[in-house]
Symmetry: C2
Subunit: 388 residues, 2 copies
């Protein structure tokens, strides 16, 4: 998966679907231990960086996302950009004004270094020898990419779910580098219910005999059943109860059952089976293990004396966006994170999207996403106003 580029060098990224760039960030020491002698970050950009180097917006993707945030469908990304309606000329993230960057996370499987990458000097993929990477590690790797691209400051960092954790971590880790941060459907620490569902997914993968202790690459078998099951568990947490009633109700299955008696009697089951199978075609099971664990482990206070000390570091204006029907990061917890940041002295506010779409609302309720974040992103920052 690692392209043939030299350390420090970057391929110029193509526009739309014409490809992506790869940046070798050099060696990397994950905060929880281990060592990556040469790490790569895959990325795409849209719009132009201006002379100040301060008109950049970083978009952080969610668990199974990738760098293709915007642009149409193409061979590598047949669905097109996962946030395309939000990114473009005149859109929420305006490519006429901003230089937009989206990078595949460290530990991912869409071009950045992860478990599927070849271990240097070893000739085979890391697999389970890949070190644990954290949300902070992902952010630090993105920082190196942005530095190499000439970005001197982020006008904004925006993301949902683990992308939202990254947006928050950016504001805490690099206070002087970020003007605005928009963590969507994310808090400073995932609750035990979310951790439980993550673990059900991981357990499904490691229990799959085809996982082979994580050393399945090149064996002709991979834990597709386990990964599909993990995806099914994930999907339940991404949608709301009301949304499932509206979409599936108790309708009988429209697709054939996997097993005569068990499976596929109801449409909601067929949907989950489809989603499960679908992910196996485009995602690496080990990456799924690492990234869900990073989501669980993320604690904004890690390494600080208290959450207050962490939130107190924030220099950016922060807009926490909650979703009324979110099960994974319930709106009350997102609101509480905003309040905690504010109490610690941060310029933090909270807005809630009223939607039955659940956690995934940020990936489908475009008008509401625009209404929630648009005024904040398009307003001048306090600092801009001071400059006037």
């Amino acid at each position: 998966m690692t392209p043939d580029v030299e350390a420090g060098a970057s391929h110029a990224p193509a526009r739309g679907c014409r490809g992506k760039g790869f940046h070798l960030i050099g060696s990397f020491e994950p905060e929880l231990g281990g060592y990556l002698p040469e790490a790569t970050v895959a990325y795409e950009t849209w719009g132009e960086l201006d002379a100040t180097g301060e008109n950049a917006v970083l978009v952080a993707h969610a668990l199974t996302g990738d760098s293709h945030a915007a642009g149409g469908a193409c061979e590598e990304y047949p669905r097109g950009g996962w946030w395309d309606p939000m990114i473009g000329p005149g859109r929420l993230i305006d490519t006429d004004r901003h230089f937009v960057v989206c990078a595949n996370v460290l530990g991912g499987c869409s071009g950045s270094t992860g478990p599927v990458s070849e271990e240097p000097g070893d000739g085979r993929p890391y697999g389970p020898r890949f070190p644990m990477v954290t949300i902070r590690d992902m952010v630090r790797a993105q920082r190196r990419l942005l530095d190499s691209l000439g970005v001197r400051r982020l006008a904004a960092v925006v993301g949902g779910s683990i992308g939202g954790q990254q947006a928050l971590e950016w504001a805490v880790e690099y206070p002087g580098f970020v003007r605005k941060a928009v963590p969507v459907a994310a808090t400073g620490a995932l609750g035990p219910q979310g951790i439980a569902m993550s673990e059900i997914g991981r357990r499904a993968i490691v229990d799959d005999p085809d996982w082979q202790g994580g050393e399945y690459y090149g064996t002709g078998r991979s834990p597709e059943k386990g990964l599909a099951l993990a995806r099914m568990a994930g999907m339940v947490t991404y949608q709301s109860a009301a949304g499932k009633w509206a979409r599936f109700g108790r309708e009988p299955a429209s697709r054939p059952a996997l097993h005569r008696e068990f499976g596929g009697r109801f449409e909601v089951e067929s949907y989950l089976h489809y989603q499960g199978r679908d992910l196996t075609g485009r995602f690496d099971a080990n990456s799924y293990l690492y990234l869900t664990r990073a989501m669980d482990l993320y604690d904004v206070a890690a390494g600080y004396a208290s959450p207050e000390e962490a939130y107190g570091r924030i220099g950016a204006e922060v807009l926490f966006v909650g979703i009324s029907s979110d099960w994974l990061f319930p709106p009350g917890e997102v609101r509480a994170a905003a309040a905690r940041a504010r109490e610690a002295g941060a310029d933090a506010r909270y807005v809630e999207i009223q939607s039955d779409s659940g956690h995934d609302a940020f990936l489908k309720d475009w008008d509401q996403m625009e209404a929630a974040a648009g005024p904040f992103l398009k307003s001048s920052t306090t600092e801009d106003r001071r400059e006037i």
Copy 2:
């Protein structure tokens, strides 16, 4: 598992932990097809049936429950009765006044005929050849047991979760036989979110290579990993988000991890692993498949022109008990079921337990359970009042 008794004969059940009775109900035709040439119902009783035969109370167990609703710990039931604080002299279900019966459901694995039972004439367990059984089938089998015990009418039928579905179905299926019904944490039809979680559990079982198409009996292997994972998924739905925060928070695991990197970093994970393993020691994986499917399939309106027609049949007074933090059968849906029954002409009311314990509140919040159902169960029925 089928005891050596003749059709129509009953063993006298022992009190407390001294054992249980088995009743051969003869041949049975499940409503969705198939045929059981000889079906057995395992049961226990407490208290004495009076001369009228109308002082009986039927207690219906939940998914992984059994006939041991009351009584202390013993070899077969080391945890003691699963509803013991609710059943006894002077308790919610008063054994000084009532003849209390609890039967293992058809399709179960605690003495009643189910997939683990030997298929007559075949010499090996039914396994996947066991016919699908429904909540209505379970109720019909219970009716045969009660008839054989001399019960002429139920003073009450009470149960939670799939036991609550049975309580409701009793009121609909046998309008003249039931005076009071108390469905707890149950509705006339499970929603798609609950079905989704059921299916994740089933999928974990059938994907486990040790399931062997359901023919694992006698092979020395059984789908323990799959069943454990199914239990983990179930446990998430039995507890609330607030309850998990209070009980587990983000505390680190106190038990060793199953896998070095993945699993067991947080206490909530250790808890789920423990619960998963625990169930494998006392429950049959095929039964889990059949009973969760019965829960999904239950639709009070099945076989009637409409839910109204079904609810309109009810002759009993019905108390629907919802639990404020229930994820599986959300309180709004339980309340709506009560309203629908009332609109159809039934004497139905609704009461809600305010608790962070989630779906499982009926198995632990004894005082609240007593407060919710006590006045209803202890009051005279309308009919009693008419008789006075």
